[in-house]
Structure formats: C-alpha cells, structure tokens
C-alpha cells in the first residue's frame, strides 16, 4: 500500500491533468474511510461522498456475485447533468473516486487522467 504522501502525489497529478477537477479521494472499500483527499470546493463533502460510494461499489460487487459474473470490475461512471463521477478500483480493497465539472471536461479526459496515474497506487 502506498503511503499517504504517495497517494496525495497521485491525486495532485490527477488534479493537474483533469480539467474541471472538483475533488478526488483514495478510499478504503471495507470501511469507506478516506486514505487521502484533495478538493477544490469547500462545499463538496468529500468524506460523505467517499463513504457512500464505498457502499455503491460493495453493492455492485454483490450484484456481480449474485449474477455469477466472474469478470473484474474496473471502474464505475456516473454522469450527472453538471458533473462526472468516476470510481476506479485500484486494488481488492481500495478505490479512487474523482469528481469533475462536466462543462469543463469530458469522459475521455477523466479516464485518461486517472488511468495515467493510477498505476502508482497499486
């Protein structure tokens, strides 16, 4: 597991590469606790967002098990009218959560920014 400093470095790099960056965190899937956070918006409750997204990932994994799907979940994308949220699994018990402003970014940029730096987390 990377140290908090390394995690923050990765989040900084993603922040630089993802235009419209709002917030990002590295989250422990089991507890929903954040291991590292970066946010540019004081009104964005990243702690709560990370926690609820951990439930989302757990539910999706449960669905996959129920359906007997043997593939591995790579990421989850949620498109809102004004934001894009990307959940990228970076290990069996950790995921990266990223939120960007949809007006200033697009899915390709978000994915590229995450995939470019996420290998440092594994």
């Amino acid at each position: 597991m990377a140290s908090e400093k390394q995690l923050l470095d990765v989040l900084d790099k993603i922040q630089n590469d993802a235009s419209g960056f709002i917030a990002a965190s590295v989250v422990d899937l089991d507890s929903g606790m954040t291991l590292a956070v970066r946010s540019v918006r004081a009104d964005f409750d990243l702690t709560a967002a990370s926690a609820y997204n951990s439930e989302l990932v757990k539910q999706k994994l449960k669905i996959m098990r129920t359906l007997g799907l043997t593939g591995t979940m790579e990421d989850m994308l949620i498109t809102l009218t004004d934001q894009i949220h990307l959940v990228k699994l970076v290990g069996p018990s950790t995921f990266l959560y990223l939120s960007v402003d949809r007006k200033q970014s697009n899915l390709a940029i978000v994915r590229m920014a995450v995939n470019k730096h996420v290998t440092a987390l594994t």
Partner: protein
C-alpha cells in the same frame, strides 16, 4: 463499546491510541485531526502531557448503510496513570499501539506491547491491534525488518510506519484500526451482541465525568478496613503477574467440609473468566444440575449433559486476594493458549465456605479423536479402516506440533484432541493444573506408538481381517515420505507382534 445509535443513524466505534509516554500518541491524534479538519480536546492537559485522555470525534466511512462515528481517544502513557489507561482500553473496539521505534526506546515499547496483547485478547471477539511504528525519521530508528521480527515474536500484528510530526502514515494506521474494529462489530453483530442506543460516553465531557466517577468510587474502598474484592472482570489488576504458572497449593488446615460447587450465573463479577462469555456458559451449566464429587485423589470432578467441571487438589485458597490472583493467572494462561483451546470454557472462582475459595474449570465436552478411532475400528472395509487410522495418526501428529506452541502444557492424547481434521487442532481436555515445567511429551513415531499401539493390539483381537488392515496401513505408509505420520504409523503397525 461499539453501538448502533439509531437516533443519529450512526455506528459508534472507539479507537484507542495506546503507548508509552512520549511515544507520540497526542501528536498522532493532532495530525489525524488536522487531516480530517477536526480538533482535539485534551481535558486537563498539563505541560503538554495527557492527564486524562485526548479526544477527537470523527464521522466518516460507512457500515451497512450507517455512517461510522469514531470516538478517537489517546490514553495517558504515564505509569502512575495506568488505571485510567486501563479503563480507556477496556472500552476500545480497536487499539493503535504507538511505539517510539528508536533503538534505545524499542525494548520498553516491545514490553508495553507484550503487556497490551493479552489484555486485548481477553475479549471475545478480541480487540484488534495495529502497531504504529513512530519516529521513523529518527537516525537510530530500528530497521523495519528487525522491527517486524521483534513484533512478530509477541503476536502477529500489522505494523504501520509513521512520522507523526509530519503526519506520514497516520491516516493509514487509523483506517486500518477502523477496519479491525468493523471486523469486531461484524462478529458481535453475528452473535447478537452488538449494542444499540446512544453511547453512555457521548462526548469528551461525559467520558471525563465517567472516569472521575469511577475514580472517586475506588478511593473509599481503599480506605475501607475490610478488603473488598477487586472490580468485576478485572484481568488488568496490577497485582497480576504475567506468569503462566497454575494455581499453587494452599495450606490445608482444620476446616469444615467444603461447600459443594453449584454453578451460579448470578455470582459476582470478577469471579468468572471470560467475563461475558463465561457468565453465559455458567448460565447454560446452571440449568443442568451437575453436582461434582470428590475423587479419591482429592480432586473435585463432575460431568453430564455435555459439560465437565473440575477442580484440582491444589486449587483451594484461603485468602481472597490470593485466589483472585490465581484466577487472573489462569485467565492469562487460557488467553495465551486460546488458539489451541477448544471454545466453551470458563474458569470460576467459587466460594468454598469458611473464607476459602476454589478455582473451577468448566469445559464443554467435544468429540475426541478416540471416538473417531472407535468409528474407524468398526469400519467394515479394510482399506477404509486403514485410511481412517492414517487420518487419526495425522491428526495426532499435527495436534502435537500445534499444542507445542501453546503457552500452557497441553497433553496430546486421543482424548485431548478434537475429532475432525483441521490445520489447527483443538485441545479439548481439562487445562492441567500441575507443575509449571512441561513434562517431556513424545512426538512423531513415539507419540503414535504410545497412543495407537494399544488400539492396534485391540484391533487384532477384535477383527479377523486385522492383517489386511495392517497391510493396507503399511502400504499407505510406504507411499508417503519417510518422515510422515502415515509412514510412522506403518512402522508402528509393522512392530505389532
């Protein structure tokens, strides 16, 4: 103390930062608080030293749809405040043990950890520990590999390296502790023992009040002329020595006949180990009306309805404090050997009349290897019978190796090993209360010869096809490595005259 507070929709956990004085507990908590934009409350801090505790409340993460509220506290590390530390640790759902890992401080830290581990394991489910190896930026910090090796000798504990002054690794350690606490919560929930309702100590002021109340109650007791029993379920007593010797012999005198032990689930706290589960077991045994009787050797023993009660000849005490001390020692021995012992055990300190106390053990009866062997002996098919014999031999040998790692001496026989194959065989016998030194216990082929040779002889008398069974055993043995239970059994069987 984990509890589900439905009024707030949260699961409340308590993460306790323990460790020697000046190891960096408060600095850690402050670094953590800064990272999550919270503040630390330090009631009655004196010259930067924690007198009661440091407190940080943090809501984050999720457990089954509920937010997790962490009451994160650090204990006072000073020796003279150990009673406070003890009370705070008792309420922990997970403990982060902060150690100064500079070379000159590590020995003390390891001793601290050695003291902490059995305390956390007295609970069922046990309280998880994370070792926060602090001050890693110091020039003389012990290398990580050496640190891990030394910690590993105490117990298998996760080590997280930190520099609390720069907050490096602090959050990782905290999140790991929360995960351990959630494991415990799941176990409590599965057993229907997870608390409900708002925590009694809902903020730092309530905790401070609670600590003060307990301390003011304790003071008059000390002043009392009549010694009162130690507090309930107190395996922390400072008088407890970390030794594993069984009860010492009390001097017998002219006393009236002892009171016969009657399992009573309402007996006072502090007389039962384990504190919570022990009482539940006692409740179960109380309904069975088991009456122990005295054997010719002076032991007390009783059995029935799946339970055994036993008290050795040396387990009578003429002084309450002495008896309590031995109860605690036995609790420590049980805890230290918990991995080897079958579940369903309790140690009870019961009134024996005329100011005497007797230490009893209650053990749930489990199927022994001997019963498995009896089934094997009755198996009609020689090949199956031979395979069954090899299975029994393998169980015995693996149990011998596993029991050898226990703190207590656990004799390995057909009657003391649980039936059923497991990489962790369970000891199902009574905890021996003999001398502390371990008597020599055979292993390998000698063990199989001692335990199985008489049964092989019986087999020869009982079965007309015994020669065929033995041939199969020998054949199975020779298909295995030279130093294997199957081969040893084959060698033992070959000696059958």
């Amino acid at each position: 103390m984990a509890t589900i507070d439905d009024s707030q929709g949260v699961l409340v956990l308590r993460i306790v930062y323990d460790g020697p004085a000046m190891s960096g507990k408060t600095t850690t908590l402050r670094a953590l608080a800064e990272g999550v934009s919270r503040s630390v409350e330090c009631p009655e801090e004196r010259d930067g030293r924690t007198i009661f505790f440091d407190w940080m409340d943090y809501v984050g993460g999720m457990y089954e749809g509920r937010k997790i509220r962490c009451q994160t506290i650090s204990v006072p590390g000073q020796k003279e405040l150990r009673q406070r530390r003890r009370r705070l640790l008792e309420s922990a759902d997970a403990v982060v043990c902060v150690l100064d890992t500079r070379r000159e401080e590590l020995d003390f830290g390891i001793e601290w950890l050695r003291d902490l581990v059995p305390r956390c394991r007295l609970e069922a489910p046990p309280v998880g520990i994370v070792l926060q190896a602090n001050k890693r930026d110091a020039k003389d910090a012990v290398p990580y590999v050496e640190l891990q090796r030394r910690v590993g000798r105490v117990a298998p504990i996760a080590v997280v390296e930190t520099i609390a002054t720069t907050s490096d690794g602090v959050r990782e350690g905290f999140v790991f502790a929360v995960r351990l606490a959630l494991d415990r919560v799941r176990a409590l929930s599965a057993e229907g023992r997870l608390g409900r309702g708002a925590p009694t100590e809902n903020d730092s002021e309530a905790l401070l009040r609670s600590l003060r109340t307990v301390e003011t109650k304790v003071e008059p007791r000390r002043a009392s002329s009549k010694p009162s029993p130690p507090p309930a379920s107190d395996p922390w007593s400072t008088s407890a020595r970390p030794v594993s010797e069984p009860p010492a012999q009390a001097v017998a005198g002219a006393f009236p006949e002892e009171l016969v032990f009657t399992p009573d689930p309402h007996m006072p706290g502090g007389m039962i180990w384990p504190p919570v589960d022990g009482r539940a077991l006692l409740h179960e045994v109380a309904s069975l009306e088991i009456t122990p009787s005295r054997t010719a050797r002076g032991e007390w023993s009783g059995a029935g309805s799946g339970w055994r009660v036993h008290s050795g000849t040396r387990a009578l005490y003429f002084d309450h404090d002495d008896a309590r001390r031995h109860l605690i020692e036995w609790a420590q021995v049980h805890s230290a050997s918990a991995a080897q012992l079958s579940p369903g055990r309790a140690v009870i300190l019961a009134d024996a009349g005329s100011g005497r106390y007797r230490l009893w053990q209650l053990v749930r009866v489990e199927a022994a290897l001997r019963e498995l062997l009896a089934q094997v002996e009755e198996t009609a098919e020689p090949t199956t019978a031979a395979k069954g014999l090899v299975d029994v031999a393998e169980c015995l040998v693996s149990a011998r190796a596993w029991f050898g790692r226990a703190k207590a001496h656990l004799p390995c026989t057909l009657w003391t090993v649980a039936a059923g194959r497991s990489y962790r065989p369970a000891f199902i016998g009574l905890m021996p209360d003999g001398p502390t030194e371990r008597p020599p216990e055979p292993q390998g082929m000698s063990l199989l010869e001692r335990e199985l040779m008489p049964h092989l002889r019986d087999l020869r008398r009982a079965r007309v096809d015994c020669a065929e069974v033995i041939r199969e055993v020998v054949s199975l043995g020779h298909a295995n490595a030279r130093e294997s239970p199957a081969r040893w059994l084959a060698d033992v069987a070959a000696r059958l005259d």
